[in-house]
C-alpha cells in the first residue's frame, strides 16, 4: 500500500513510494483482480498456454476479419478465468447469471456444465475453484504437464472450463426459444469460499461479500443462439469424444450443438495444440428429401412448377454439367439432360448448407475457388469445377473442413477441388447416390497440386498423398468411398505399381471412378445431448 504523509506545519502533502502510489492497489491485499471468459491459446508448439479474453471489450473477428457482434454461443465450451493476487491455493466460489430474465425468466445463477474430468462434465450452479489448480487444463489423459509455463504465468489464476448449457436438452431448448434472435449478457459473481474478505479489482481494501464482474459497459459477455460444430485435429489430446476403436485409439472427432432456434451454424476447429479457430458461418436451409426414381411422372402429377434452374450459360461456357436445367416442381425435381431423371420428394426434410462461401460469379470450365481460410496456421482451401452441386449436409461439411485442415497442417499443399455434392434442392442429376447432400466427388490429386483433375493411371497422379487424404477423410467420418482398381507405373509413386485401390473405397466402374474420389457413408455427428 502506498504511504501518504501530511506535513501539517507547512500544509504540504508528500506522497512516498512514487507518483503513482495513490492509485496503486495495496499489493499486500488478497485480491481478485479480474474475472473474464476466455479461450485457450497455446504457443511454442503447444507447450505454453495463455488465455485470450472474449467479451465486448475484446471483440473477436470472423474469417473475413469482420467484428463478431457477440462473444460466445449457448452450448459452447469456454474458460472462466479468475485472476488473483496473494490468494494461491485459496478457493473461490463463482456463479454465472444472466443480466436479464430474457433467457430463463429470471436472473438466478445458471446451472451449467463444468469440466470435472476428461470424460465428464457435471451440472453445477456454484463453481468452486482453487487458485493455482490447473485441472481445468487436463487433456484426455488427465495431464496438463505439457504446459511448461503454468506456475510461472498462471499460478495466481483460478480456471474453470465449462460449457454454456444446462444438463438437459429440454431446458436448453427453453433457453434458446426464449433467447431467439436476441443476446444475453452473462455476468459473474465471485467470493472467497471461506467467506473471508478480499479486495476486488483495484479496491483499496478487502471487503466481505461478492464481487461482480462483466456487469457494465467496460466489458460484457454477450451470448447468442447458434448451432455449433467442434472439430478436432486427429492429434488433439483434448478431444474427449467417444472412442470408436482401440489400438490405435480412434475417437469421434466432431461434436455438434444443435440449436432448434437458429439456422446459423458456426464451425470451430481445434488444431493439434487445441487452439480454437472459428472457420466459418453458414446458414442451413431445410429442403424436402429427394430420391431418384426410375419413372418420370406425367406433368399433371408433378405439382406446380416452382423454379427453373437453367445451366445453358454454364454449358455454353464450357462447364461440363450434364443437366441442361432443373425443373423444380412441388412434388419433385426433373433433371433435364441427355436422359431426363426424376427426383421425387420423400417424407421428411434434410438440412443443407452452401459450401460456396466465396460465391464467385461467372461461368466457365475453370476452378471456382469456394473458400480460402488462412489464419493462425490453419489453411482450408477448396474449389469447385464442372459442377453447380455445391450443397452438403452440415455434418459432412464439418468433416470436410476438418479433413482439409488437418491434411494441410500435415504439410500437404494440394488445392482440393470438388466435382460436387448435391444441388440446393437436394437433387443431383444424373446420379442417385448424391442426393440429399450425402455424397461428394473430389478431383484426384496431382503432383502439380493445382487442383486440376487427372485419372488414376496418369503420370501426374499423386497416389501417396491421395492415400493420405482418403485416410484423413475417413477419420473425419467419410466411412465409404468409391474408386477403381488400377496400377500406375508412370507416376512418381511406387506403391501403385502393382494393382491397388485407394483405402476405404470399393471398386466401382459403373459408373466410372477413375477420375475422382467419391466419398459417402458419413457417420452422423452426435449432438452434445446425445
Amino acid at each position: 500500500m502506498a504511504t501518504r504523509i501530511t506535513i501539517t506545519d507547512s500544509g504540504q502533502t508528500q506522497t512516498l513510494n512514487g507518483p503513482l502510489a495513490p492509485d496503486t492497489p495495496d499489493d499486500s491485499l488478497q485480491r481478485i483482480t479480474e474475472v473474464y471468459f476466455a479461450k485457450k491459446t497455446t504457443t511454442d508448439n503447444g507447450t505454453r498456454v495463455s488465455f485470450t479474453k472474449i467479451d465486448s471489450a475484446h471483440v473477436q473477428q470472423d474469417h473475413d476479419n469482420q467484428n463478431i457482434p457477440y462473444d460466445s454461443i449457448l452450448g459452447k465450451t469456454v474458460y472462466l478465468v479468475i485472476e488473483t493476487t496473494n490468494m494461491t491455493d485459496l478457493s473461490i466460489d463463482a456463479v454465472i447469471r444472466p443480466s436479464a430474465g430474457t433467457m430463463t425468466e429470471n436472473t438466478d445463477p445458471l446451472q451449467l456444465m463444468r469440466f470435472v474430468s476428461p470424460d465428464r462434465y457435471e451440472a453445477q450452479r456454484l463453481f468452486t475453484v482453487q487458485v493455482g489448480n490447473f485441472d481445468a487444463l487436463n487433456n484426455k489423459d488427465g495431464s496438463h504437464d505439457h504446459y511448461t509455463n503454468l506456475r510461472a504465468d498462471h499460478i495466481n489464476k483460478a480456471i474453470i472450463k465449462l460449457q454454456l448449457r444446462p444438463d438437459g436438452r429440454a431446458t436448453f431448448d427453453d433457453w434458446t426459444r426464449r433467447l431467439a434472435d436476441g443476446s444475453i449478457n452473462l455476468e459473474v459473481a465471485v467470493e472467497r469460499t471461506d467467506n473471508n474478505p478480499c479486495a476486488y479489482r483495484d479496491g483499496q481494501e478487502e471487503v466481505n461479500g461478492a464481487g461482480i464482474f462483466l456487469n457494465d459497459d467496460t466489458g460484457r459477455f454477450r451470448v447468442v443462439n447458434r448451432n455449433t460444430y467442434t472439430i478436432h485435429h486427429g492429434s488433439n489430446t483434448y478431444n474427449t469424444l467417444q472412442v470408436i476403436s482401440t489400438n490405435p485409439e480412434r475417437r469421434r472427432r466432431i461434436q455438434k450443438v444443435l440449436n432448434n432456434h437458429s439456422t446459423e451454424i458456426i464451425f470451430f476447429y481445434y488444431d493439434q495444440n487445441d487452439n480454437e479457430h472459428r472457420i466459418c458461418a453458414r446458414t442451413k436451409e431445410t429442403v424436402t428429401r429427394k430420391r431418384r426414381v426410375n419413372t418420370i411422372p406425367p406433368l399433371a402429377q408433378r405439382g406446380n412448377l416452382l423454379d427453373t434452374i437453367d445451366f445453358t450459360a454454364n454449358r455454353a461456357a464450357g462447364e461440363q454439367i450434364d443437366a441442361h436445367q432443373l425443373l423444380v416442381y412441388a412434388n419433385g425435381t426433373l433433371g433435364d439432360g441427355a436422359t431426363d431423371k426424376w427426383y421425387a420428394n420423400q417424407p421428411g426434410n434434410v438440412e443443407l448448407v452452401n459450401m460456396d462461401i466465396l460465391a464467385n460469379n461467372g461461368v466457365g470450365p475453370q476452378i471456382f475457388e469456394a473458400f480460402n481460410y488462412n489464419q493462425n496456421g490453419v489453411i482450408i482451401r477448396y474449389g469447385f469445377q464442372h459442377t453447380r452441386r455445391r450443397s452438403i449436409q452440415p455434418d459432412l461439411f464439418a468433416g470436410f473442413l476438418g479433413a482439409l485442415a488437418q491434411f494441410r497442417q500435415e504439410g500437404h499443399n494440394h488445392y482440393i477441388v470438388s466435382q460436387g455434392f448435391s444441388y440446393s434442392d437436394a437433387s443431383c442429376y444424373p446420379s442417385a447416390e448424391h442426393v440429399n447432400g450425402e455424397a461428394g466427388d473430389l478431383n484426384l490429386l496431382t503432383a502439380q497440386q493445382n487442383g486440376v483433375n487427372t485419372i488414376l493411371t496418369a503420370a501426374n497422379f499423386d497416389y501417396d498423398n491421395q492415400v493420405i487424404l482418403r485416410n484423413i477423410l475417413f477419420d473425419f467420418g467419410f466411412g465409404s468411398g468409391r474408386s477403381e482398381n488400377f496400377s500406375n507405373t508412370s507416376n512418381a509413386s511406387t506403391a501403385d505399381n502393382a494393382s491397388t485401390r485407394l483405402p476405404h473405397t470399393t471398386h466401382t466402374a459403373t459408373p466410372r471412378h477413375n477420375n475422382h474420389l467419391h466419398v459417402h457413408g458419413f457417420t452422423p455427428i452426435l449432438d452434445i445431448y446425445a
Partner: protein, 328 residues
C-alpha cells in the same frame, strides 16, 4: 515441302474463315453447300496416307464384361494407334454440318462446342473407291490438363466434298462418373462395327452392336449380316442385300424430341414408321410418340406395354436426303 503445304493451308484457312463469317445468317441447307464448296481445302488427298484395314478395336465382339471393356478403353497402345492418324488440322464446326441419325446420343450439331471442343481432321484416311473417308476427332480440352479425344467421326467425301458422317468413337466422361463409350472396328471389307457402352449406376448391360457400310453414294447405311426379316427390341423390318429395305418400325429414344416442348411426355422415345430403299431413308417417315410403361425397380421399358401414340412429326426423304420436316 511441308512448309509450303502449311503456308497454303493457312492462307486457304483464312479465306475459308472469312467466307464462313460472311455466311453466318444462312441456315442448314446453305451450310451444307458451303461445306461442299470449301471442304476440299482441308482434306489430304495423298494416297500414300491411306490406312490399312482392319483398323480399330478388332476384338470388341469378345469383350462382354466391364473389366474387359475397361481394358480396351484404357488400352494405351490402341490410343497411340488412333493418335498416329495424325489429327493435325484444326477445322471449324461449320465445315461438317451434316445430318446424323435421329437416335444418336450427344449429336455433333448440338453437343460440340467448338470454343472448348477442338475439332481436328487426321491426315491419314480411308481410301474407298471414289471416296475418301476421313477421321475427325473432337477433343475435350477442359476436363484435364491435357486434351483427349472424346469423339471421333468418319466423314466420307467425294472430290473433297463432305457427303456423310458417322460417329465411331465416344469417350464421354460425365458427372459423377456417368460414362458413355463407343468403340469401333473397321474390317478389311470396310464394314464398320460399333459397340456402345453405358457405365452408369444401372447394372451393366451389354447392348447389341451395330454395323454400317459405306454405300456407293458415300453415305453410311446400317449393315446386317443376314438378309430376311429382322426383329429386335428396337426395330423390325426386312433386310435385303444386308441393308434395310421397305417399311420398318423403330422404337428408340429420339434426340429430336425436346421434352420441354412436350411436357406431357415422360421420355423421348418415338414409334417410327420408316421406309428405306437400299439402306437409305426414303419416302415419308412418321414419328409417333411411343407409349410405354416402365419397370418400377429397374426403370427399364416394358416392351409388352408399348403402343403407338400421337403423331409428332413427319419427314420426307428422297434417296437418303431429307427434303422436308413437318411437326404436327
Amino acid at each position: 515441302m511441308p512448309k509450303i503445304n502449311i503456308a497454303c493451308f493457312a492462307v486457304l484457312f483464312f479465306l475459308f474463315f472469312c467466307y464462313t463469317k460472311a455466311q453466318t445468317e444462312n441456315k442448314a441447307i446453305s451450310t451444307a453447300s458451303r461445306s461442299t464448296d470449301q471442304g476440299s481445302v482441308f482434306f489430304n488427298t495423298n494416297k500414300a496416307d491411306c490406312i490399312h484395314l482392319p483398323f480399330g478395336y478388332q476384338d470388341i465382339s469378345k469383350r462382354i464384361t466391364v473389366d474387359s471393356i475397361l481394358s480396351a478403353i484404357q488400352d494405351e497402345n490402341k490410343l497411340k494407334e488412333i493418335n498416329a492418324l495424325q489429327f493435325d488440322k484444326v477445322i471449324k464446326k461449320d465445315l461438317i454440318q451434316l445430318p446424323e441419325e435421329y437416335d444418336v446420343f450427344l449429336p455433333f450439331s448440338k453437343n460440340v462446342n467448338e470454343k472448348y471442343d477442338q475439332i481436328k481432321i487426321a491426315s491419314d484416311f480411308l481410301c474407298y473407291g471414289n471416296y475418301s473417308v476421313y477421321f475427325m476427332a473432337v477433343y475435350n480440352t477442359v476436363r484435364y490438363a491435357d486434351p483427349f479425344i472424346e469423339k471421333m467421326y468418319l466423314v466420307s467425301t467425294k472430290d473433297g466434298k463432305p457427303v456423310d458422317m458417322k460417329r465411331i468413337y465416344l469417350n464421354h466422361q460425365g458427372e459423377m462418373g456417368f460414362a458413355h463409350y463407343t468403340l469401333f472396328n473397321i474390317d478389311k471389307d470396310y464394314i464398320i462395327s460399333l459397340q456402345n457402352y453405358e457405365l452408369t449406376e444401372n447394372p451393366f448391360k451389354l447392348k447389341p452392336s451395330s454395323k454400317y457400310q459405306i454405300l456407293l453414294s458415300g453415305k453410311f447405311a446400317g449393315y446386317y449380316d443376314k438378309d430376311g426379316p429382322h426383329k429386335n427390341d428396337e426395330e423390325q423390318g426386312m433386310v435385303k442385300n444386308h441393308h434395310k429395305e421397305g417399311k420398318w418400325i423403330e422404337t428408340k429414344p429420339n434426340g429430336s424430341i425436346d421434352l420441354q416442348k412436350y411436357p406431357e411426355f415422360t421420355d423421348p422415345y418415338t414409334y417410327l414408321e420408316a421406309e428405306y430403299k437400299n439402306g437409305l431413308p426414303n419416302g415419308t417417315w412418321k414419328f409417333y410418340k411411343l407409349l410405354q410403361k416402365y419397370n418400377e425397380e429397374t426403370g427399364e421399358p416394358l416392351f409388352n406395354t408399348r403402343k403407338k401414340g400421337q403423331l409428332i412429326y413427319t419427314e420426307m426423304y428422297r434417296d437418303g436426303v431429307l427434303e422436308k420436316r413437318e411437326f404436327h
